[in-house]
Amino acid sequence: MESQNSHLESVYTLYQDMIKKGFTLIYEGEVNHQITKTFTSMADENMGKVSEDDSVRKKVFHVMVECLQNICKHAEDPDQEDTAFSGTGIFIVGRDENAYHVISGNMVDNVQKERIKQSIDMVNSLDKDKLKELYFKKLKEGSLSEKGGAGLGFIDMVKKTGHKLEYHFDELPEGNFFFILKSTISRK
């Protein structure tokens, strides 16, 4: 019997849409260390199958780990245990002729929004040498946050890919924001 279930019908639409947009991976839900490991090795294997250049593969891997860890570190925040912030988000990897795109989306509050915006704008304004300088300066003088981050993720992404980070904040009714981050890695 043919199903009238709209969920089933929308699967093909979604499939077509993914193909059209070049999305090879879409995930919505909790991001934890296990997910991070699984996705990164899956993507790496996938790139191996299409004989992607080794240095491109490594850069995509790098960006994916940093993005996923950005999302999952929110899960460890004790103040945000039981809210929609708990390390959940959306994660997309896309590929077109010229580049890979790693896109993540997760909820942040106003304070986080300002901090993120400031930090990305600053990183985006620096050239390669200045980025390198800042990276090693922070490495030398900084320390790990309680969540185990080194505060180097954004710098590293721009430094390794040579592309500025694109971002967008969607304002939500409760005064929070949905933070979308996109990093691009050129193919050779």
């Binding site: 780990v65 860890q69 090693f136 030398k140 790990l144 981050g149």
Partner: protein
């Protein structure tokens, strides 16, 4: 002192810290779930070793991949060996990188600029 040996995994590096055999090496991938917990015992071992180091210490880093949080821990490891060097002991770093991996070479060069011990860059 007892050697510290850890088998590598898909997200943690293989570690050999063996004063008796004079082997000090980190290799593989590093993106542990909890960097502080993984690197804590390693840093503690180096502190202990620093009390009575060998006359010559060569530390090898043969890493395929490390995340930014691990890069901070690698910095801390190097700083501890730098302290040992500052006390008048011979310390040298060997930084291995895949020939095609420019980012890994660049990382090694960056470390060599801030850690004041001799570095050797070795491609493989």
């Amino acid at each position: 002192m007892d050697a510290l040996k850890l088998k590598g995994s898909e997200d943690t590096p293989a570690v050999i810290l063996d004063a008796a055999s004079n082997i000090f090496e980190l290799s593989g991938k590093s993106m542990p779930e909890n960097v502080a917990a993984f690197y804590g015992p390693i840093l503690a071992w180096i502190d202990e070793y620093g009390k009575k180091p060998n006359s010559e210490t060569v530390v090898s880093f043969k890493l395929e991949y490390f995340n930014t949080a691990s890069s901070k821990m690698i910095m801390d490891i190097m700083s501890k060996f730098e302290d040992i060097s500052n006390k008048g002991n011979k310390v040298k770093m060997k930084w291995f990188y895949l020939e095609v991996d420019e980012d890994m070479l660049e990382a090694g060069e960056g470390y060599s600029e801030i850690v004041e011990v001799p570095f050797e860059m070795i491609s493989y």
